[in-house]
Symmetry: C2
């Protein structure tokens, strides 16, 4: 007989429409936490990833909140249509798809949510490939933010957990498959077309990850020539 | 002749409708910074403080952004109408008017804004009376958050400045008067009535501050009996 969950059994999970946060959510559920999902509508270039995140949360019958925010100052290709989505960004530089302080903002809301519902853990899908480019995915930032947050709130035991931190995309995909993640319900492309473009960094990492995991991306449908053509580069 | 301001001359200022942030804004302008104001509409109990903040920014011809956010999880008397605004809270406990992680969220947006416009300083009106009750006003939190933020962004030199930190309310009012702050354009009451209630903590601190500074609060108009009556307690 299962005991009534303790407060510490609640966990806040940041969910975008992508692979990493989807796998994180499945992992959190497998760990036995009661997950509470946060999805952000920050007026990104397209709403597709939001609908995929919502679909994912609904499929799993997990309670979720969609938080609408605006960052009217732009400064990123993901929020500012005057900046083009690049087709291949240098691996070591901070990409133009970096949104100023995005994860700092997302984590702040999750700290508020966690405090209000009495959750002690916040899960985020940050990992190696991200933190090579995005400073707000790096482990030292996550630890430092956790420390700051615990000084600024009423309850002091909040922990920020990034269970995929040291995994490569292919390992995340393999983990997801073992957890039963339905990757049809994930969207990675920075552009919001009917089908993924296959050319932006996010598509390329995804295709490379599936190729390295030796699994076929379920988004590779027949009507999707660009994506299929791009996929051949990673075999 | 004044030189063209350098990038480092830009400053983001958090502005509520209250006394502390108004004085902070005047101080920032006196220091010679080009101020960029952030005002938050977080669906607080009343919009009055937002209109006072906007009025203040407009009067000073300072550019501002009103950021609309929602914290659907409640957890505070300021956002959740099912929790009553108390008339006298214990000084040492965290008050029910504490909004979970509010300043963490506000500071996160200000870090994003600062990064996007190339500002290096963020000014916040936190001070002693606040940080006795609100953990997200405490100096160790502010320093720790600054350190975390600098790890998570592209430009590493952001500084969070709380110039009123060690001042009592009466000293802040005296400073404001010396800077020419028009206190008619400030609103402190937690309730959003036509006139201040005189009974909530925020009114009480304000009245006490003016009394100790030996100045008459310009909000003490004749049509404002409750507030005037309450004021006599602090003489």
């Amino acid at each position: 007989m299962r005991k009534t969950p303790k407060t510490s059994d609640k966990a806040v999970v940041l969910l975008s429409g992508g692979i990493d946060s989807a796998v994180t959510l499945y992992l959190v559920l497998k760990y036995g936490f009661r997950a509470f999902v946060l999805i952000f509508d920050y007026r990104q270039r397209h709403k597709k990833e939001i609908s995929y995140a919502v679909r994912n949360a609904k499929n799993l019958a997990v309670p979720f909140e969609v938080i609408r925010i605006s960052l009217p100052w732009g400064g990123s290709a993901l929020t500012d249509r005057s900046i083009q989505i690049p087709e291949k960004q240098a691996r070591k530089a901070i990409p133009v798809t970096y949104v100023p302080a995005r994860n700092i903002i997302f984590l702040s809301f999750s700290v508020s949510f966690a405090e209000a519902i009495g959750a002690e853990k916040i899960f985020i899908g940050a990992h190696i490939q991200d933190y090579s480019g995005y400073p707000d995915c790096r482990p030292d930032f996550l630890t430092s933010f956790q420390n700051a947050a615990n000084l600024g709130i009423k309850n002091k035991g909040i922990e920020i957990v990034a269970p995929l931190l040291k995994k490569r995309k292919s390992e995340i995909i393999e983990l997801g498959l073992s957890l039963g993640v339905d990757f049809r319900n994930t969207w990675s492309c920075y552009r919001g077309g009917r089908t993924p473009c296959g050319k932006c960094d996010s598509c390329r990492y995804r295709l490379q990850g599936f190729a390295q995991a030796k699994v076929k991306d379920p988004l590779l449908s027949r009507e999707n020539e660009n994506y299929r053509e791009s996929e051949t580069n990673f075999r």
